[in-house]
């Protein structure tokens, strides 16, 4: 009896610990369950449904009841569809162009604002404006400024002796113009990331560089850039995903025109499904868009640094 008691104690102790963790596990799942259930209903069902629809032929006209199974026919068709291929390339061009521009400008802006002047907080808030403003308002804003007849952008161009541009109305300038607006929109985001990185940098290595007589350019090249590299890389990938998904700006300003010169993959997918009601083929195009975004997302997840996530 006496010998057995410690063991018993330990056993009951174990039992209590076990019930505590089991308790905690049940609690945990009860807490997560509503979100998981609702998100899977909202996300999984549409995704599976989209995949299934992309394997069917509904005919045209938006009929969703009669269909034939066609296997991968639509996907095979996509590879030889010039509109699709051009849209895909245009999306990539749009994303890479605007992200690289926003990164350079954002980094420059962050270095300018990384000072302890009085009132610098106000400046930072002002510079964030393009990123917090509603996308459709930005579209309206630029629509006014880029108006070829009496917009202020042409007024500026002519004031410095350059010829007026048609901006969004010309097939050659429409994509660069949209990229310019997207850079304007995304730069504050890149700035916020770069600024956070700059502020967390150890000052002593800069002091050491000062003692060694390093020039500002050398400090930037050999200290600032390497230390910001991972922050900038994650920001770049995030912006890449964001710009691949850009819809309101392009849809409101050009609708993919003129002459489809700004029709990105997103816009093409929208036109196929909701304008031409080509459900099967449109679904296949949307699945392609999904795969493109997911690929970048997975790279992004790999590059990101976080303690446990």
């Amino acid at each position: 009896m006496i010998e057995a008691s410690p063991r018993q104690d330990r056993a009951s102790d174990n039992g209590r610990k076990y019930s505590l963790t089991r308790d905690r596990r049940i609690f945990a799942w009860l807490m997560v369950a509503p979100a998981v259930l609702i998100l899977s209903a909202l996300v999984l069902y549409p995704l599976v449904s989209l995949l299934v629809m992309s394997l069917r032929d509904y005919g045209t006209g938006g009929n969703t009841i009669d269909f034939d199974w066609v296997g991968l026919k639509w996907y095979a068709m996509l590879t030889s569809d010039h509109r699709f291929v051009r849209g895909l390339l245009r999306s990539i061009q749009y994303s890479l162009g605007s992200v690289s521009g926003a990164l350079v400008l954002g980094l420059g802006l962050a270095m300018l604002l990384n000072r302890n002047y009085r009132g610098i907080g106000v400046l930072r808030v002002l510079f964030i404006l393009p990123y917090t403003t509603m996308m459709v308002a930005i579209a309206l804003l630029w629509n006014i400024m880029l108006n070829p007849a009496n917009g202020i952008m042409n007024y500026f161009l002519q004031a410095i002796g350059l010829p007026a541009s048609l901006w969004l109305a010309d097939t050659r300038t429409v994509l660069p113009t949209l990229i310019m607006i997207q850079i304007w929109r995304s730069t504050p985001f890149a700035m916020l990331i770069a600024l956070a990185g700059l502020r967390s940098m150890p000052l002593d290595s800069f002091e050491a560089a000062d003692i060694d007589g390093a020039s500002p350019l050398q400090k930037f090249r050999y200290l600032t850039l390497p230390m910001l590299r991972s922050a900038l890389a994650t920001a770049a990938l995030f912006m890449l995903i964001d710009t691949l998904k850009q819809f309101p700006l392009i849809y409101v300003l050009t609708g993919g025109g003129p002459l489809r010169a700004s029709e990105t993959l997103y816009i093409y997918g929208y036109n196929l499904t909701f304008r031409f009601f080509d459900i099967g083929y449109g679904s296949a195009a949307l699945v392609a868009l999904l795969l493109l975004v997911l690929t970048v997302s997975v790279i992004w997840l790999r590059v990101r640094e976080r303690s446990w996530l």
């Binding site: 807490m31 979100a35 609702i38 393009p130 509603m134 804003l141 007849a149 409101v252 997103y266």
Partner: protein, 287 residues
Amino acid sequence: MLSHAADAANLASRRRRQRAKIVDRVVWSLLCGGLLIVFVFPFVYMVVLSLKNPAAIAADPHSFIFTPTLSNYTAIIRDTPFLHQLRNSAIVGFGSVLFSFLIGLPAAYVIGRQKMKRVAITVLIVRMVPSIVFILPIFIVYGLVGLRNTHIGLIISHLILVLPLMIWLMIGFFEDVPRELEEQAYIDGCTHWGAFLRIAIPLVSPGLVVTGILALIQSWNDLIFVLVLSGNETQTLPMAVFQFMDTEQLNLGGIAAAAALLTVPVMIMGVFAQRWLAQGLTLGGVK
């Protein structure tokens, strides 16, 4: 003699440093001013243009000297369903944010505490998926169950946008709450639910404000769900755009006023939460 020479050299180097400081300051101001024009001037121009009457715009759209008028604003409120759209945006935005808080807060708390990596990554991936891929199936189902052109239908669809963002942001805020406080509460006889409700939630309240605002902005910005799933009765603010794009050449002042009205609600929220806004905006993206 020696000390004099040293003094002179010292003085010269101090002058040089001072001059370099002034040059630095001037260059800085010029660069900042230039960039400020690029990034902020469009908003100023928008406000100026919105305060001009059509005659002033026809005379010279770019002059900054004119008699301001609010006629563009009153015209929008009188002639377009702007207030109606604002109301719908508020219903859908607050509805989806409220639902997301109810469902998302417990989830974010547990994911953060138990470090449920897979669930967290899944939530993040959902956030990355382009919303257009969800819309066609939802559109079809909504047609069957009669949820097209209803507020509740829009709220449900916006959960896809809002819920992952909210969970993701709140995980970060919950992680900052020291675990010891909850351990202490358990010892005092508190349940898990009690610790969540009475300890964790009050401590993340600043995070709740930021997350709520960012989630609201997310819902207000959405165009594509509203474009497909709403109708005349339920259309939200972003749809106001199309009333102005049709009459594009005719009414510059009206478009500017509309853009200003669309900018203001979010801007007010931004000023209100500016202390945390930068943190919140980047948290969702990078950390």
